[in-house]
């Protein structure tokens, strides 16, 4: 009665071959995932462990001893910067999320909006703002405090920028977790005689621990992978791994050592990701997807409510300060030296950078819908179909969450720089990069939606005579619409603001706005960088509004896209 492994797989294959369309979709997708996600990573590993075509750890010993342990310092800096960003960012995000879900403070919608703004801006906005606020000509350092020689570069500035950039990610996670904890539990605890603080300590906090752990790990991964902020702020005194790997490749052309650095960066990122995905997320007490419950008004005392409100105001005003400085900087004639307003920066951007604006929109506009559809199809296959390689498909399509963009960028130039896959400098390499890098959100969203849809809904369609394609088209896909559009928005935003991997892949033919902005920052043209960033954010906002409008007109839904 016990069939052998081979027999069972063979049986499964026979069953699949009855549905040739399904089989070919699975095969093509699997090959694409191998080529554009796994193969570049393998290339990084191979190159880093190879000297003269043979296995060797020489690249790593060379990295360790390089310039008196400079790269070891970079590793150490990256790790503690990641840890600090993760812990402080999560702490702030928890206060914010708790205030908005439990304390019933005023202006919740406003605070929620403020906290989500950093998500749709390029990841180096924080760095730009730090320079503008606390740098040599900084608004706070120079104009207000009158310091002559302020230095925004180094660990403190970078930490500030990273927390600002990544705390919204933690906020969204923790808000979901807190919303899914039913306030009735707290009411019950209060009913049993607990004081407010005891309830928080004994009920709310323990229930949110898995969410907090998850958020810490996610921020750690994000901070390690961050490239834009450290490129602007880290400087030579405070080396950061992702930037050093980039400089090793583009500055010195040392692919072997660059790959070794990328590999070193990959290890903690992937470990933290695995820990989050396969351990912490399993400990979640309640699913994050539950419908928001009315917040309990009795949970927080009046005095505590005011304290939380003040804290939220403080955090929000910091964010506003950052964005106000970008806006102001874009219109300022000479930042820090003159209060005159001008459109010169925008004129400059349109003169030298208009091409990159168009390129960026073309690339993002083409890759976004493909990523969205692929995400839905993969989610569908992974949740609803049984086939050999299903787990591999799920794992590899989600892998981009774990892999820092720098590593991907290096992998792509290693993998696609020669035949049979010569793609360097083409539109295709940028598109493939964006499609497969921003696939995970679509997959994740699709999986979440599908796991909530009772399979009997699809069975009902089949029962009524629909084939598998008709069922997907007429029943499954319409139900996945919210997830699909969330995925669209996410991958559009990320494609527009991408830098870490893309910086390796741009060429004279295909330019990206983000890369142009970085070069403006590096050459000290802060004003035009700010103007450029503003245009970028404006494009994103317009695109989001268009999608939202389309959704409202076509599907009559008002699903909040950013907060899912």
């Amino acid at each position: 009665m016990n069939k052998s492994f081979v027999q069972r797989k063979w049986h499964g294959l026979i069953k699949l071959s009855k549905d040739p369309l399904l089989l070919s979709v699975i095969v093509v997708l699997t090959l694409a995932l191998i080529l554009f996600i796994i193969y570049p990573l393998l290339k990084v590993c191979i190159v880093s462990f190879q000297v003269d075509g043979r296995f060797s750890v020489k690249n790593f010993t060379s990295v360790m001893t390089y310039s008196n342990g400079y790269y070891m310092k970079a590793l150490w800096n990256s790790l503690w910067m990641g840890a600090a960003t993760a812990v402080i960012g999560t702490f702030i995000a928890y206060i914010f999320a708790f205030s908005l879900t439990r304390a019933n403070i005023r202006g919740q919608k406003f605070f929620n909006l403020i906290a989500t703004i950093p998500i749709i801006s390029p990841p180096f906005i924080g760095a730009l703002a730090v320079v503008m606020l606390f740098g040599r000509n900084g608004f706070v350092s120079s104009t207000i405090l009158g310091m002559d020689n302020a230095n925004a570069y180094g660990p403190k500035g970078l930490l500030f920028a990273q927390i600002l950039t990544f705390f919204p990610v933690a906020y969204i996670t923790l808000r979901g977790v807190l919303e899914s904890i039913s306030p009735t539990l707290e009411d019950a605890a209060m009913d049993l005689g607990g004081s407010r603080f005891t309830i928080f300590r004994k009920v709310t906090l323990p229930l949110s621990i898995p969410g907090i752990a998850s958020s810490v790990l996610v921020l750690f991964v994000e901070s390690l992978a961050d490239f834009g902020n450290p490129l602007v702020l880290a400087g030579a005194q405070f080396p950061i791994l992702s930037v050093q790997a980039y400089l090793e490749i583009t500055g010195m052309g040392n692919f072997a050592r660059g790959s070794a650095l990328a590999f070193i960066l990959l290890v903690p990122s992937v470990s933290a990701y695995m820990l989050q995905k396969y351990w912490v997320s399993k400990k979640q007490y309640v699913t994050v997807t539950g419908k928001p419950t009315q917040s309990s008004n009795t949970m927080v005392s009046n005095r505590a409510r005011w304290a939380l409100f003040a804290l939220c105001c403080l955090i929000a005003s910091l964010i506003i300060l950052v964005y106000a400085s970008i806006v102001w900087g874009a219109f300022a004639k000479s930042w820090g030296n003159s209060a005159l307003l001008t459109l010169d920066n925008f004129r400059y951007v349109f003169r030298v950078g208009f091409e990159s604006v168009l390129d960026t929109m073309v690339i993002a506009g083409l890759s976004t819908p493909i990523a969205g559809v692929l995400g839905m199809v993969i989610a569908f296959l992974v949740v609803r179909k049984k086939f050999f390689g299903r787990r591999f498909m799920e794992f590899s399509s989600m892998l981009s969450f774990a892999v820092p963009g720098t590593v991907v960028g290096i992998g792509y130039i290693l993998a696609f720089n020669h035949s049979p896959f010569y793609l360097t400098g083409t539109l295709a390499i940028l598109m493939f990069n964006f499609i497969f890098r921003y696939l995970p959100v679509g997959v994740q969203g699709g999986v979440a939606v599908l796991s909530q849809i009772d399979p009997s809904i699809e069975e009902a369609a089949i029962d009524l005579g629909a084939g598998s394609t008709t069922t997907f088209r007429k029943v499954t896909l319409p139900l996945m619409i919210p997830a699909f559009f969330s995925a669209l928005i996410y991958s559009f935003v990320r494609s527009m603001t991408a830098i870490s991997a893309a910086i390796f892949l741009v060429s004279a033919r295909w330019k990206l706005m983000t890369v142009q902005i970085m070069s403006q920052v590096e050459s000290g043209r802060i004003g035009s960088a700010a103007a450029f960033s503003l245009i970028l954010v404006a494009i994103i906002l317009v695109a989001m509004a268009a999608i939202k409008l389309f959704l409202r007109l076509k599907y009559h839904t008002n699903s909040s896209i950013l907060t899912r």
Partner: protein, 360 residues
Amino acid sequence: MSVTLVNVTKIFTDQDDKSKEFTAVNNVNIEIREGEMVTFLGPSGCGKTTTLRIISGFEQQTKGDVYIDGQLVNDLPANKRNSSMVFQSYAIFPHLTVAQNIGFGLELKGFKKSEIKVEVDKIMQTMGLSALGNRQPSQLSGGQQQRVALARAIVNKPRVLLFDEPLSNLDAKLRDQMRTEIRRIQQKFGITSIYVTHDQNEAMTVSDRIMVMDKGVIQQLGTPFEIYSRPVNHFVADFIGRANFFTGTVTSLNEQVTIAINKREFTFPTFNKDIKMGKRATIVIRPEGLHITRQSPEAFFNGTVKEAVYLGATMEYEIEVKGRSEPVVAISYNPVLEGFYKVGDEVGLTFEPISAHVIS
């Protein structure tokens, strides 16, 4: 249209540990006749839903054959079998209106819009849904959703109608109402139907025949009367209704059977074929088959009232009898005439042989 299962077996393998196997359906044979409504009844995990899903085509049996209307359908996928299922969760498409839901199957069959409208309107009228055609599923009550699911299944004129615990999400009163309704519709259209449930009352009211299952095996197949009054074994007797079991030794066996219970002999008119002289035998007496009297040496058993529950129309007693681990359950259907007994009263129990049934 008949449905026939021949030696159907389903074995599931554990997803994580492929060596672990579980036999959900074990060698099931049944022939369901045209226009008949048969219920698969049993506790959860007994294999009844799996059997239903094998008939619908959602599960592939490991062994055995399924015939619908004489045609072997083993290799026919679910969408080609022309059976319609009413799902436990109703499975109403949330993105379609009521009318679109009901017309979904016809649309797939390529009916013209106007034809679909006629058919959908007709069935909505029969089901009392006429006013709800444009509603979204989220605006429907549980009972209305149930009707939509039923209408969606029936409008396709399926060869077989399959019900997968269709009433388990409704409240008690609505459940009673809907099961009568389902039976009425089924008889009106004369559709061969299979109904899965774990609720014995439901099974008793809707079925022509009941198939009682446990651990993947058919325990008994028969009319509601046979299942309740002539259970073939301990499991069936215990699962359907409440039952008191008494064990004794067979002392005489001719047209009737005499069994010595509690050192006294009782003669019963009906008995199981596998009963042997001198062997142990068990008899079943339903609570309503026992009469409560004052304690007397003539009584079948004497005991003490342990619990007495007044339910208005009836009075339910649990009576502790010396030497029995289980209390005896008795129901008095006319407590005003038969008298009320209190907890602690010493009482006697009697019964008519016709009320008793002998199992192995």
